[in-house]
């Protein structure tokens, strides 16, 4: 399928939904890993919206990435409850160990580091979501273990 066909298939799946733009954008991100600028005109046309409207929505929400993520996406919780048990030390470790700043993907395309504010695991912090899976009571060694396991699962 071409990119256009894949985007249209996502849109079609949400045809009957009220206010379908968010479900569609989530669908596109699930399909491609990110929401490329180039799909915005198509989405706008299909939903009878202006490009500016769609662009505005894509940029308002921090979930929608404009670039492909690395093989392992690490979302580190930096909200208060995790700060209380050392999340900032974990952020420092991750930045140093993987050579990326929060919000970036490594040049080798391996790790994307992102921050989130609360994952609902505030009694078992520091918490992180790695490729969509939740982890708690993390320390640098456990985080490295999780990242390695995810990396291997994606490359083997």
């Amino acid at each position: 399928m071409t990119v256009v066909e894949r985007v249209l298939a996502v849109i079609e799946a949400h045809r009957g939904d009220r206010g379908a733009l968010l479900p569609i954008l989530h669908g596109i991100q699930a399909e491609f890993g990110y929401v490329d600028q180039s799909v915005i005109p198509l989405v706008a046309k299909e939903l009878n919206l202006s490009r500016a409207d769609v662009h505005g929505v894509v940029t308002f929400y921090s979930d929608f990435r404009s670039e492909p993520p690395g093989r392992v996406t690490v979302q580190l919780c930096r909200a208060e409850a995790c700060q209380a048990v050392g999340s900032e030390r974990l952020v420092e470790h991750a930045e140093a160990a993987y050579g990326v700043k929060v919000g970036q993907t490594g040049a080798d395309g391996v790790v994307t580091l992102a921050q989130v504010f609360c994952l609902g695991n505030c009694a078992l912090g520091p918490a992180a979501q790695v490729n969509g899976r939740l982890h708690g009571r993390l320390d640098p060694a456990r985080l490295d273990g999780v990242i390695n396991a995810e990396y291997e699962a994606r490359t083997s």
Binding site: R18, A79, V85, V116, C118, A123, G125, H135
Partner: protein
Amino acid sequence: MTTTVYVPRDAAALSVGADAVAAAITREAALAGRAVRVVRNGSRGMLWLETLVEVVTEAGRIGYGPVTAEAVPSLIANGMLDGGDHELRVGVVEELPWFRAQNRLCFARVGVTDPLSPEDYRAHGGLTGLRRALEIGPAATVAEVTDSGLRGRGGAGFPAGIKWKTVADTPGELKFVCCNADEGDSGTFADRMLIEGDPFCLIEGMTIAAFAVGATEGYIYIRSEYPEAVRTFRRAIDIAYAQGWLGDDVLGSGLRFDLMVRVGAGAYICGEETSMLESLEGKRGVVRAKPPIPAITGLFGKPTVVNNVLTLASVPAILADGGAAYQALGVQRSRGTQVFQLAGNIARGGVFETAFGISLRDLVEEHGGGTLSGRPVRAVQVGGPLGAYLPASGLDLAMDYEAFAEAGAMLGHGGIVVFDDTVDMASMARFAFSFCAEESCGKCTPCRVGAVRGVEVIDRIVGGEDVDDNLALLGDLCELMTDGSLCAMGGLTPNPVRSALQHFADDFTPRRVTP
């Protein structure tokens, strides 16, 4: 004979390896030649014990925790499947002091049942509330909720019955019930645990709300940070349709109610109800000015009930047992139970449901066991990122809406975040501003720009630059944000800042900067 073993499927339990524990139990039991049935329940809420494994015995459900996959062989070798002794054995779960001290209404089934089993749901009192509502009619249902004294659990504490009455009294062919499951406050996870641990209860609560106000469509807005909750709730909806609990003819009563899941996209402000409605309409989550209120002009301009997960999940029990029974619990104008959440640097974190009025100190020290680090408690933030910081000396505060308001604090969604004495309160105040800057919807200047200025001012204070002037500036800035913001995001960000400054002034003195 088959032994039943419970292993939670709650995301918090999964985060510390519950899936691996379940797999290890299945494997080791087979090796030992024992027949087991592993049930994936919700979490009991004693999160420090996760993964908490429960074995059904004649003496009751015996708990073991925290269990890791590595510990399973030794547990099974020591007779765990017969409730045998082990250093991880905690005893009969429902007799544990932490559990017995609670009064679980909203969380009655969470951790007890298989969340996706309709048979379990029925066997544990499910649908009684909805059946009673259908019997007594919409107006009496609204009255029951009003009489219960139930107030919104999302933060603002607005009486649920009054909101419902407004929607019921507003004419309209199309009305909506929207469940706010954006749960963005740090230190809160009860919505998530309820959705994952007893989703049918929320479906029942939303259906009762729809019946009471005359709505035919419902949406639940779940934050994208909760993928497990999204998965569980979608499955629960499918099952509910198959059972005839949703759809064209709910329980054969002729009631029509359709329920859809919508997933947020990483914006804290979308927990504010009008921003959530914008987001549900597929737009940027920019806050709407009120009036008009959502009850009259809500989703797509239609009359809409917006309630928090815990508000709606409290409704089935209120209908089943009557508003008066609920009203009998609690203090003053805070009636019923609240699901408190102990989080952060806490030895025994989790959910603790009890009547309003318990003291914060009891929760943190007696039930929570103090800090995880073993160091002294220094600060406690109640009510999420917009809530005030309280010093360790200020914990003798009753947990009810009025007592908190009097103390210049707020209960919010019931989250309690504990910090030990290593916390730097100037940096927490700075964080409050930077969080607001990051999450502001951008509609008003005091919030959007003020928060950015706030970060700079605190940096200058701790940097030793014109400290007195900058402290005065900080005060002005807080006042401006309080008075000039459209919603509580900008309006309440001064709460954590001012309280940090008031109770922990020493932290705001210039630091020696290491060269």
